[in-house]
């Protein structure tokens, strides 16, 4: 191609294209070098046009360029030189000395009057794009790392939560197991104590009676402590059953204050409900549980009081649909630092002369119960001056009528049957069997047969067809629930009433047994009166 051809108008157009363009012949001679490429490379067209490309860029004579460009001059397919694999096709420096990042496409161009095609190089500057993408990738990578770290942190938190929940469940299981373990020997202690106290044939002398009362009181106290621990476990496991009903606040408070009066005698504590005006305020709560809460607070107020101190109980309608109940004492008080720890389970306050017995979980139970029933509990206290516990509940509207006579209802007693009745007791601990045998001496027409294992007990039941079965639940080899189901499958035994007698005292245990068909559930330690009442009612 002649110099004139270089000036052909179609080539002049190339100076207006914002991409680097140059054309070489097969011998490497440069025919076109556009303005954009002049600016990028710093090499003027006048200088390079007509010269060999290898004079300015020797690498064009080295692999892979000759091989890759060979087909171009035979009108072959286009060739790409990417920016990542060919950084310096035409080195074009930037102001900071770095090189432009270029993407090059080479195509075959056949000029009309020429025999051999030319190689047309089109060079795109992808420098900005590349830096933007690198920055994006870097940010993307950082974001991914951050997300990964957060996920790991979340997983750690989740794992810690699961472990804490597991530990809490284990603790609750442990507490309920411990409750069961303590109840079993306590059954013997309280059971035989009750029998001795009821033995009218060989009455005890005055000193013996007092000593036995002390044994019974200590046993009941221990039972109370065990029940508190079990309560906590039940509440924390979310297995407490509530029976909400309208509860007359004044009536419950009067009952609890009345029951608490004997415990004020030791330190001569003054305990009173302020205000005598009859009130018709009801709240919706579980009667037994709200009574338990008041009992706990008032008993603490008495326990932690100074000699000849006072405990005031009052309640007032707030006027915005709520009622507040105050339990105020003039006791030792709680310091500001200790107040936040008040509801921690097993947290005890007081040392030396102010030490008071207890598990330290009563207030935790109170808080849990109050909040479960939709209320709030707060405390204000000053060291040396006393404490005021405030409970707040929504008032139950439009509740009128008689104050319900609450208390443990006693079912009207059925007439005792004088016919001979056979009772089968299935229990693996012989002390417990002996206790029941002695209890039943009070009922001469009840004949007790027993078995130390569930499987043998089932055989006896099939052969003897007793009138009533007493069944322990926790037994080796076969438990009471399984034994009950086996008895229920047999026509000979399915109609025999079965009472569960067990140290498993959680609500769920009782519910489970009653749901499968046990007629009643007696928890150990056995209360002799209730035990006899239950058996009598089923054998009547």
């Amino acid at each position: 191609m002649s110099q004139n051809t270089v000036q052909h108008p179609s080539f002049l157009l190339l100076n207006h294209i914002p991409e680097g363009i140059f054309i070489i012949k097969q011998d490497g001679c440069v025919l076109v070098w556009n303005r954009c490429l002049e600016n990028w490379s710093g090499i003027k067209g006048k200088k390079i046009i007509g010269e060999k490309i290898t004079q300015f860029f020797p690498h064009f004579g080295e692999p892979p360029y000759p091989d890759r460009l060979e087909n171009i001059f035979q009108n072959g397919p286009p060739v790409i030189f990417s920016s990542q694999l060919h950084k310096h096709v035409i080195p074009c420096p930037l102001q900071d000395g770095s090189l432009r990042i270029l993407h090059t496409i080479v195509t075959s161009y056949k000029a009309p009057e020429e025999v051999t095609p030319y190689a047309l190089f089109t060079i795109q500057d992808v420098t900005n794009q590349t830096f933007q993408i690198r920055e994006y990738n870097s940010l993307h990578k950082k974001l991914k790392e951050e997300i990964q770290q957060r996920k790991e942190a979340e997983n750690k938190i989740l794992k810690a939560k699961q472990e804490a929940e597991k530990a809490n469940r284990a603790k609750s299981t442990f507490l309920s197991q411990m409750s069961h373990e303590f109840r079993t020997p306590l059954n013997s202690i309280l059971g035989f104590t009750q029998l001795l106290q009821r033995d009218f044939k060989s009455p005890l002398n005055s000193q013996q009676s007092k000593n036995l009362e002390r044994v019974a009181a200590a046993g009941k106290h221990l039972l109370g402590l065990i029940n508190e621990v079990l309560d906590l476990a039940t509440i924390e496991a979310g297995k407490t059953n509530f029976t909400p009903e309208p509860v007359h606040i004044q009536a419950v408070l009067q009952e609890v204050v009345s029951l608490s009066q004997p415990s004020t005698k030791t330190n001569k504590i003054f305990l009173n409900i302020e205000g005598t005006q009859q009130s018709d305020i009801f709240i919706e709560a579980d009667y037994l549980r709200i009574r338990q809460v008041f009992f706990n607070l008032i008993s603490n107020a008495i326990k932690f009081n100074k000699p000849q101190g006072s405990v005031y109980v009052r309640f007032a309608n707030t006027g915005n649909g709520k009622i507040r109940i105050y339990v105020e004492d003039t006791g030792v008080g709680i310091s500001e630092e200790d107040l936040p720890r008040l509801s921690n389970p097993f947290e005890r306050f007081g040392t030396g002369s102010t030490f008071v017995e207890g598990t330290g979980i009563g207030l935790t139970i109170c808080r849990n119960l109050v909040e479960s029933m939709g209320g709030q509990i707060k405390v204000v206290s000053a060291l040396g001056k006393g404490s005021t516990f405030t409970l707040e509940f929504p008032v139950l509207n439009n509740q009128r009528g008689e104050v319900p006579a609450k208390g443990l209802s006693v079912a009207p007693g059925k007439e005792l049957s004088l016919k001979e009745k056979r009772i089968l007791y299935i229990e693996d601990i012989d002390t417990n069997i002996e206790l029941v045998r002695q209890i039943l001496l009070d009922r001469p027409n009840y004949q007790l047969i027993h078995s130390l294992s569930a499987s043998r007990g089932i055989e006896i039941a099939l052969n003897e067809t007793p009138d009533l079965i007493l069944m322990d639940i926790n037994m080796p080899e076969m438990d009471g629930l399984t034994a009950f189901n086996k008895l229920a499958e047999k026509p000979e035994t399915k109609s025999i009433p079965v009472i569960a007698v067990s140290a498993d005292a959680m609500g769920t245990d009782i519910e489970k047994a009653l749901n499968i068909g046990f007629r009643s559930y007696i928890t150990k330690p056995i209360n002799v009166d209730k035990f006899l009442e239950t058996i009598d009612s089923l054998l009547a």
């Binding site: 692999p63 892979p64 091989d67 890759r68 087909n71 009108n75 072959g76 397919p77 286009p78 060739v79 790409i80 030189f81 990417s82 920016s83 990542q84 694999l85 990042i101 993407h103 496409i105 195509t107 992808v126 794009q129 590349t130 993408i133 994006y136 990738n137 990578k141």
Partner: protein
Amino acid sequence: MKITEEQLDTIKELFNIGVGRAANTLSTMLNSFIQLEIPTVEIYTNPDYSELKKRLNLDQVSTIMMDYESTFSGSVFLMIPPESATNLVSALVNEEPGPISLDPVRAGTLCEVGNMIINSLMGSFSNVLQETVNYSLPEYKESTFENILLEKSEQKETSICIANTTMKIQELEIRGNLIIVFKVGHLEKLLASIDAI
């Protein structure tokens, strides 16, 4: 349309020559041993693209494609699974893997590799058959197997030549497919040119 054993063997040979040349060029350029194998070549007439997709286990693909024009005309594709394409580029430029579709620079690199393989393949065809072929600019695309083929050809009365290829670079093994789509009636022309050799 019936293809004889001899014709199929010749086509296979042309693939092998082309791909062998591509491997040499790549190895020289990258200063790294690169191996390209063509284990199988198959020809389909009136193909069902959805059936073909299942048979080849190709859904989403990274593709470098070019149109060609000669006595036999059509389009040629190099199809690689997107993850393999990412790993290939990463191995070639010694950088961490990244999405190609969002990165025109990486797309350009893959385009060059595909371009070299396709050029060598079509070069072997045109050299042996002494045919002059015109080409479009190579293009990179990510889409499904069916969509890419349908863009360039109708299913009906089209013929397709598919070669499975395996590229080995360093410890990486990349499986891909070289596909030549012939316009209607053009496979017959190619076969006629082969018979004339």
